[in-house]
Symmetry: D2
Subunit: 343 residues, 4 copies
């Protein structure tokens, strides 16, 4: 707790009230363990329906790094690696979980967190044309985030292009949707869950940052990774009381809650962006989702720090700093007003 | 859900009502991520106090297999292995998570889940005396469970003997307390949390099976495994909203709840054991905790299956079967009565 | 070097003179690297012919532990394990190379190093019948040695039985032939290279202990492990000057040298066995190959140690010791005479 | 074999005649296994003397990728990574052996294969200053090659600068000397073996490319990696007949052979470089060792390919190609003459 107004991240609060209701309502019902319970089954059905993917497999895991590690490490053979943006979460901020699992992350340059179909093609064709390729890790999967770690979005046509090159080159496309609710809630987004399910072999729908206590729902082509249950167990990624994950996602996918849960975050972020521009602040780049990147000189930085919690993003030499403000499903109007007053 | 009375496991319900209260009460408080929040801090202090170990480190993880894998794999060097009972959870039922992390599990014969100081000494001295030991995995850690997977308990003197041989031979002793609340709640137990903290280098206090939604609290000697935070992250074992773990353990260690939470399970199990004996059922062996192992012939097995959910344990050729009934912190008197009626 | 007569192992000398000749003869010929040279090609052809397996893949590696680790770890999926004798080389004396690669070794009791088809079947059927098998490592490969670590041999009918249960249960059978030349050279053996190639999915023909400086030749069903070249590279198991391996195996498989190279070892061992029996020594058990296991009391042990180098095998309480004498392709008659004089 | 003159690599021939002599001379001497023999002991002493490092540990392994993987993976803790040039052998051409062992390779931009002390410092200080560093792999070792993969050399002052920043930042410095003999043989080099031993915590002296059949000698500070013998065994990197490695290095370090063995390669390369320049060929950049990089247009490329074997290095769009010619300790004058005639 702090007296400052906090825009430090989108995982600072507990869970959406409807999730608490569901936990209370079902607390003493006995159910089977490890995700074989009725709540998980119900959540799976609703997620498949929302993705227009009736035959997809849905598995629930606890957090994003765990999900990325289990998926990528079990999808790849020992001599294979995954392609990601230099700024990708797996490239930097997962303490090397992919390498720890034995695999190389090939990094591509990014523009505000996004990579392009062309750069993927170029990397693959360089590999294909290299006479030493049998001595090299084979790039065989592509990892992207929607929204990206920079809050930006792939448009439908960009995603289609990436998917097309992946299919041409026989690379499964894996999408990290840790903050997917914030993409779905912004009018600037033209990519639906069904598009993602159609264009990716595997992806996950984020719960932790999108209104759940915790939890991520992996959606994959049927049997894309055989024996996934045992693989999850082996990674310590199988929750005994799997129902807790099932209940949260069942709630998030009842009455379209997941499609709307990000709206307050987007409205708050838009209001903050407008206020920043009006007061002459420089946005590092424009983002359509719940993350806002602002360039501050040292004086402004010092002043804002007194009243507001935010994330340091990067230094811009000689004397500027990029910070990040993040709104969430739980952001209150009063906090936004308060922030704006302090700009 | 099922119409049968279920004694299938001790993780069939949600969480203790006081945990739900704590989650509701704090839901919109903003807190820092990854276990650095005030709730985790408070829980850590209470756990250290309960363990009479003011300088211990406390880390929260999500489940038992995850905890065992992170602890053991990061405590061991590549050429080292861990000693466990043949029946140990890590030996059989964790899908090879220890081997997946690169380490051999040396198994010892067990008596109802327990291993002995003498057998540990013998294994170590055989290794020390083997001229080929530089070509062999070095056994350098001991894993035990309290209660064991068979519901039995190490007495204080047994635990002291094991600890003594471990210290003589320089082997850290690691205790898996997935069901520790059920040990602490039975009058037949003479091992306190403070004893465990004194005799083991590292252990975990189970939440998942003891009234929490999920979560295990690792207690270890200060700096026993340096950089443990990053190691947890790398294993996908660091919860973003760590507060949810902190809140659960803070509740369990407020007003001694954890010491008492297993009592209804023990009372229910004792009542069931008495009823079984009175009706001429054969107990496979006597257990002082919340697990009951019953030997059934095929006829009784069929009959009981109609009304009751339980776990299959093992076949006793030619025509008998051992089953397990498990009570929990949430077991209702009415379920016990109902079960007894159906015996 | 030592003044004692040494029967300590079968890898104490350099290489068969014909191998030296081949190295000298070809020393300044330039050839391509990594096993793509003409000598490897020639060796592969000769090995396929000797195995009556024209379509087999042949890969050369440097040593036995390396070969076992690369083969087993790349043949298994992460949740799979390998079955071996408790006394198997991979079970004990490879410093945990299989577990280091992520996999469990399931051990079966052995009789003088051998396991049986029945015990394999029992282990598999126990797994198949276990309700918790999705939480367990899946046994999916069988490892045997011919000769075993105890110098014993599987008969053709034993090997056929093992192969049959493996095929019924869909388990690849992998045979470690570190000392295969000594099996092929004894008249008590009825298993040919062609039998092994027919009954096993993969096996290796040992060079290091059978007259080469070093090297093992893996023979496997075509494409049994795809991308094996890159997998070898990744394990550090791909020799740059692969020709050195090719030349050694090309020599060993020219004019049937490999079939005969073990004969001096067998003759020497037989002579020693007869002498031991004649002088009232107790053989621990009878072996048909180049390893001899003798039971000695403390007095005889002390006396023999003065003149002869051998391997300690195990203690037989209260006061006896089992030692191992090993002959080799290079054992000299004079050494045998000398040993016998010292009995 | 080929009718073309081959300058494809420096591992195309067998071994230096003195090595063959040593093998022949000692062939039937019996010696102990696994590197405990007298030849290894002698080689160790001579190497320590040549490095002016009387207390160093010397271990022999078979090849470069194996050596890099065993050293780096056992020196690093699970959450640590190694810094290397983008062009480093471990970064590209070892099939991901470092990542396979669980570790990230941090790549730095290079100038003709070399990295600088400044770039290392910058990477470390960025890490130290990053608020999220506990979620990141920690860079804790530096890998360089001498000569580099591009045939270039670190000067003594460059190496001292790198060593200084490594020691200031507590990063062990590891030097890959796969082609070290070619550095030692060129007059442009001012870095001695003793300098390397003084400035690096660990390095290896290459045998495979420098006149041995195979083998690399790791030189490290005493006890820099405890239990290294067992670690080698576990990686399949311990040769049973270790004497073969000992004999080769004992020969290479007798009468300063290793210091001179590269001289023919340097003379040949210098002669080729001069001829190329005289005939108007463009060198991609100037190298002082046994590798020559030449820029060819398509026409010249086609013509040269008819008569000469070389390595493709990279395309220079639109229509040029960089090729590599490599000389070796075994390069004959006649081959050089022949090549020059064909330019």
């Amino acid at each position: 707790m702090t007296d400052k107004i906090s825009f430090a991240s989108d995982y600072q609060e507990g869970a959406h009230p409807k999730i608490i209701d569901a936990l209370i309502r079902t607390n003493l019902i006995k159910s089977a363990g490890y995700g074989s319970d009725e709540f998980c089954q119900s959540a799976r059905k609703k997620i498949c329906a929302a993705c227009n993917a009736p035959d997809a497999e849905v598995h629930f895991m606890v957090g994003g790094t765990q999900t990325n590690a289990v998926v990528i490490n079990s999808a790849l053979k020992s001599y294979e690696g995954v392609i990601a943006a230099e700024s990708g979460h797996i490239s930097i901020h997962e303490a090397g979980a992919i390498e720890f699992g034995g695999h190389k992350v090939f990094t591509l340059p990014h523009i505000h967190g996004k990579i392009s179909a062309d750069k993927i093609r170029e990397l693959i064709e360089n590999f294909e044309g290299d006479g030493n390729r049998a001595h090299m890790v084979k790039p065989t999967m592509v990892y992207i985030s929607q929204p990206t770690e920079y809050g930006t979005l792939y448009s439908l046509s960009e995603l289609e292009n990436i998917s097309a090159v992946c299919r041409e080159k026989n690379l499964p496309l894996y999408l990290d949707g840790a903050r997917l609710a914030y993409a779905l809630a912004t009018p600037k987004n033209d990519v639906t869950l069904a598009d993602i399910a159609r264009l990716c072999e595997i992806f996950y729908i984020g719960g932790t940052k999108c209104g759940a206590y915790f939890g991520e729902a992996v959606v994959m082509r049927k049997n894309f990774i055989p024996h996934f249950f045992t693989i999850m167990k082996q990674h310590g990624a199988l929750l005994a009381k799997g129902r807790i994950l099932g209940l949260q996602f069942d709630t998030l996918f009842t009455d379209n809650l997941y499609m709307k849960i990000g709206e307050p975050a987007i409205k708050a972020a838009d209001k903050i962006r407008t206020a920043l521009k009006n007061r002459g602040y420089e946005l590092y780049f424009d983002t359509p989702t719940n993350q806002i990147f602002v360039v501050l000189d040292d004086k402004k930085l010092a002043r804002l720090s007194n009243a507001v919690e935010f994330s340091f993003w990067e230094k811009l030499p000689p004397n500027k700093t990029v910070i990040r403000l993040a709104t969430s499903w739980a952001t209150q109007d009063s906090d936004v007003e308060n922030l704006i007053k302090n700009l």
